[in-house]
């Protein structure tokens, strides 16, 4: 093995090690995106969220409210998806958390009552910030 080949091999080994480190960081990001369970990965301190909805007299949803969101989440984007028993999305609403006091809250109003509360099985939440 020539001296040049040894140098080239060493250089490649260093590149591969650093690329692996970069790839590991990328994988961590991706796994956070995909973890839709209740594990908290956000730095704004959310461990779980609870939503409630308001209905009209026909049982149609007219409002969705999410309360008790940590103050540290102010400025982040909250998305709430309503899903039926099969997990199919019935509707999705998004807002930027603002005007928080001791905690943040989001209220989606004027929803029209077109979605029956009886069909609602899941609230799915996503908080995205920068």
């Amino acid at each position: 093995m020539t001296r040049f080949t040894k140098i080239l091999g060493t250089t490649l080994a260093v590149w591969l090690a650093l690329a692996a480190a970069a790839a590991a960081a990328t994988l961590t990001v991706s796994s956070n995106v995909l973890s839709a369970g209740n594990a908290a990965v956000s730095s704004c301190g959310v461990s779980s969220l609870t939503a409630s909805r308001v209905v009209d007299n026909n049982g149609g949803i007219t409002e969705v409210d999410v309360a008790s969101i940590p103050l540290a989440c102010q400025g982040q984007t909250l998305s709430v998806t309503l899903a039926d028993t099969t997990g199919a999305a019935l509707a999705s609403y998004t807002t930027t958390l603002a005007g928080c006091t001791s905690t943040c809250a989001a209220s989606f109003t004027g929803l029209g009552g077109t979605i029956s509360a009886a069909n609602l099985k899941y609230f799915s939440f996503a908080l995205v910030g920068s």
């Binding site: 140098i7 480190a21 990001v29 369970g37 959310v46």
Partner: protein, 216 residues
Amino acid sequence: MRRLRPTPARIALLLAATVVAGLGTAFATTLSASSSKLWGGQQTLTKSTCTLNTAADTWVDQASPTTTHASGDLSVSDRGGSVREALVTFDLSSCGLPTTAGADSATLTLDLTSSTRSNHTISVYPVYSSWSPSTLTWNGLSGLTVDPTPTTTFASSAGTKTVTVTAQVDAAIKSGALWGWVLVDTAGPGTATSTFASAENSTSSRRPSLTVSYER
């Protein structure tokens, strides 16, 4: 092309450049990761039904404005000088629902056992302030907060009457208080007196009931 000789200085320079460039790549990726804060979660709703058969009910009479009628069947009348109105409510707390729960549907069932006329209109108005069967009188009725718009109306013919009260019960779950409804004879030829089975009726199936399908 001129071939560079791999002197120790050149080797060291190449290795240093490689390390710096590689660290830069890794650090940039790390920055990208920490700049995007992400959280996802899901809330699964539990569906169930609660049926309340023990109503708190009474009726009040214009002709005896200071008398209570906490026991016996409920009387509703538009007879001049002796107007009668009936009130009924339920204790939602026995359903054990948190204030974050909600009603998917709610049905109030009443049994109109008899009426002197079947073509009068009975209107059902939501009540938004507290009252007690043991103390409410005709004079006390004016102190209650009653919705000016009826939830529904039905004819004064004998039989079972089902009233959809989803919105009011949903709101009551969230506020923690349900103050029920007042039944008023609001229209019809001549005068009529209608009788509804109360919580004290000897036939339990005729008593007022409230069925709530809820999520929590």
